[in-house]
């Protein structure tokens, strides 16, 4: 025993020495040998062509070549075009998948090793600002009115701190859309999509009587119920001012009756069997399977699912697919056209960049966010954060056109998981899984969320 203690104390001492040494050593001026070799090669070609000085930039993004979503396709097309037009700028890319991106960027930030250009999440900005890793982008955007005016209303909202924007958005997520099959609706005797809550529940009962799953839900990843349903359903009851008050800690509570009604409405849907019974064991990819097979009349997911439906659904289902939003609720304070929306992620550049490098970095970012990018993006069935210059509607799938028409009327309201802290969202998401199988009452869940909020 004594011996073991002695060993342990020696070990601790050794550990401390090591950790001190690690803190003491400072990062020297690093030079990447392969980078300088590459830029050297670039220099010789560039000088012979007589163009601008060569610049090399590192760029960590989340669009690897294997990713077949519209956003990733549009990004790669635009970046390739930029590369061919600007041979003097060498871009060392590091593509990472979306799921791993946050881990890596947080580690790089902790090690003060961020690349020249990277992507930040709305909830990460305040940490990055405290550590002086990023600068506001307002000046650059304001200098270029054409670039600035193309951005959609509310695109910068997720990245605004103290009145300044800390990111250039490239996508506009509408996390809630109802995809419904109009043929199944008319077969069940529903002529138009319900415009109020009682019509909506009537429609669900009619569909159920026909033996069809009214709403297909795959909440295994536990974000679908919160991001794609509750963020909008909550706003229908509480209105947007309530959320602002929550975010700024100005008195609103999750135990307020409005929020509890929203939770109750969601649980009532589950209790009346509006959803499939295996809702907690399938994911958002699988929730579409029942819809594609004509066994479910609706599913709720964001605008990213549009390209899935266009690519994967059988033709008769695709032709019958229409888009809608949740109807207004009785006594709700929210707008019926309100829809949880936001950019969630945005580009920014390393605060240490200067001169030519900084200018080149913003030039790249313009190429992957401006109106021309938006055109490419819309044509890939994705959802850019700026207005495309001129869309050739004949190039678009009919469902994309339906979406663009609807999107023009939508009033954006906050997405819960893009704006609230990760710990709070964790409590909410897992709580919703229980709520949907009647494992917890709306009041108790509200109390649990409020307890986490007050921590």
């Amino acid at each position: 025993m004594k011996k073991a203690l002695k060993c342990l104390s020696l070990l601790m001492a050794a550990l401390m020495v090591f950790s001190l040494a690690a803190c003491g050593a400072s990062a020297g001026g690093e030079t990447n040998s392969s980078d300088s070799a590459a830029s050297g090669a670039q220099q010789s070609t560039a000088s012979s062509a007589g163009s601008q000085a060569p610049v090399t930039l590192t760029f960590t993004h989340m669009f690897p070549a294997g990713d077949t979503e519209g956003n990733a396709i549009a990004f790669r097309k635009s970046l390739d075009k930029f590369k061919s037009e600007n041979p003097n700028i060498t871009i060392n890319e590091e593509p990472l998948s979306h799921d791993n991106y946050e881990t890596k960027v947080r580690t790089l930030a902790a090690g003060n090793e961020l690349p020249d250009i990277f992507i930040v999440k709305g909830s990460m900005t305040s940490m990055f600002i405290e550590n002086k890793l990023i600068n506001p982008v307002d000046d650059v955007i304001n200098r270029d009115p054409e670039w600035k005016e193309a951005f959609l209303q509310g695109a910068f909202d997720d990245f605004v701190v103290d009145g300044k924007s800390y990111g250039i958005p490239f996508q506009m997520l509408n996390t809630h859309l109802i995809y419904y099959n109009k043929k199944l609706f008319s077969d069940a005797g529903i002529t138009a999509f319900p415009s109020n809550w009682s019509e909506f529940t009537d429609a669900i009962n009619k569909l159920k009587a026909k033996g069809i799953i009214p709403i297909s839900l795959g909440n295994k990843g536990n974000w679908v119920a919160e991001s794609c349903i509750l963020s909008t359903l909550g706003d229908r009851y509480t209105g947007t001012d309530w959320f602002k008050s929550i975010k700024e800690k100005k008195g609103a509570k999750f135990t307020d009756p409005e929020f509890i009604s929203a939770l109750k409405a969601l649980q009532d849907l589950a209790k009346m069997d509006a959803f499939n019974t295996d809702l907690n064991s399938i994911d958002n990819m699988q929730q579409k399977t029942a819809y594609y097979n004509g066994k479910a009349a609706m599913f709720m997911e964001g605008n990213w699912a549009i390209s899935n439906v266009i690519n994967d659904a059988p033709k008769d289902i695709l032709d019958n697919t229409e888009l809608a939003l949740l109807p207004a609720v009785d006594g709700g304070k929210g707008d019926a056209m309100a829809n949880s929306a936001g950019a969630a992620w945005a580009y920014n550049v390393n605060s240490e960049l200067k001169g030519d490098k900084l200018a080149a970095a913003y030039k790249i970012l313009k190429a992957v966010t401006d109106a021309d990018y938006a055109t490419v993006s819309v044509e890939s069935n994705a959802f850019p954060a700026s207005n495309p210059k001129n869309i050739d509607k004949s190039k678009l799938a009919p469902l994309s056109i339906k979406y663009l028409d609807l999107a023009a009327k939508i009033k954006p309201v906050p997405i819960y998981d893009a704006q609230l802290s990760a710990d709070l969202i964790q409590v909410m998401n897992t709580g919703l899984q229980e709520l949907l199988i009647d494992g917890i009452s709306p009041e108790d869940l509200a109390k649990k969320i409020q307890a986490e909020y007050e921590k």
Binding site: L11, E69, S97, H98, D99, M285, N311
Partner: protein, 278 residues
């Protein structure tokens, strides 16, 4: 007669039971293989059904776009070097720890065993900063260092306890016949350790082959990354191209299965072999 029937019946029953068991183990592999030949459309309509037309494009895409061959080479390089180093270093250290008694012997042993208790995720940021300060990021050998460091504790633990059970008499006999220390270690003791050697070989190979967090954090160059990272590149933010991912997984898994099938006899033999029986 009756007894015989009963015997046959019970045997069939047991066999049937085992067959069902092994199907549950094999089915995921079989499912992965045939799903890799489906199109995304077929897959999203029905995840279990067989492919209509064999769709080999997924494999072409996985290699051309997903660069699976490159990730595969990197993984192989890292794993082979890590395993060789783990076995050589681990074996020599374990030999001296179990055969010699010297000052601080216990401390050294405890220090190595401590490595098994440290959760990898708590080390990501400190290790990243350490590697950055030492300029070890983004090198061909970068990943081998942590893989060997994290593989050693288990190897030393297993080797040490096994060597303890090997009778010293064998070494004494060899010594009398004129062998020096290195001959004794590598020509006498190492072959005796074959059963535990194969265990360590398999475990440390699988650990370095499947390792994810370090490969994600310590490398930036695409050309150095390993298979687990390559596989994650097929995941989009909200959707996954499953058939293509399956094709990439088949490429990642097939060589391992082939090696296992070829070497399974050796591996099982190794488990039961030894110089002194009983």
């Amino acid at each position: 007669m009756k007894l015989k029937i009963l015997k046959i019946a019970s045997q069939t029953f047991i066999n049937l039971f085992m067959v069902i068991f092994s199907i549950t183990c094999l089915f995921p592999l079989i499912w992965m293989f045939y799903s890799s030949l489906k199109t995304q459309k077929e897959f999203s309509l029905d995840i279990i059904s067989l492919p209509g037309i064999l769709h080999f494009d997924n494999y072409i895409e996985a290699i051309k776009v997903g660069k699976m061959h490159m990730f595969f080479g990197n993984s192989l390089f890292n794993s082979v070097f890590s395993v060789v180093l783990i076995i050589i270093i681990g074996f020599v250290i374990a030999y001296f720890l179990s055969r010699y008694n010297f000052k601080m012997r216990n401390l050294i042993y405890v220090l190595f065993l401590f490595g098994m208790l440290v959760p990898v995720h708590s080390l990501l940021i400190p290790l990243f900063i350490q590697f950055k300060v030492l300029w070890l990021l983004d090198k061909r050998f970068t990943l081998i260092l942590p893989y060997v460091a994290f593989g050693l504790p288990m190897a030393i633990f297993l080797f040490e306890s096994f060597i303890k059970s090997v009778p010293v008499e064998i070494e004494e006999a060899a010594y009398l016949d004129g062998s020096n220390t290195s001959t004794i270690i590598f020509k006498i003791v190492l072959p005796v350790c074959r059963p535990v050697l194969s265990t360590i070989l398999i475990l440390s190979f699988l650990n370095s082959w499947n390792e994810f967090p370090f490969a994600l954090i310590l490398l930036r160059k695409q050309s150095l990354k390993t298979i687990p990272i390559g596989l994650s590149n097929f995941n989009g933010a909200y959707s996954v191209n499953y058939p293509q991912l399956m094709a990439a997984m088949v490429i990642a898994v097939l060589p391992v299965i082939i090696i296992y099938l070829l070497a399974s006899k050796r591996i099982i033999e190794g488990m039961t072999a030894g110089s002194v029986k009983g």
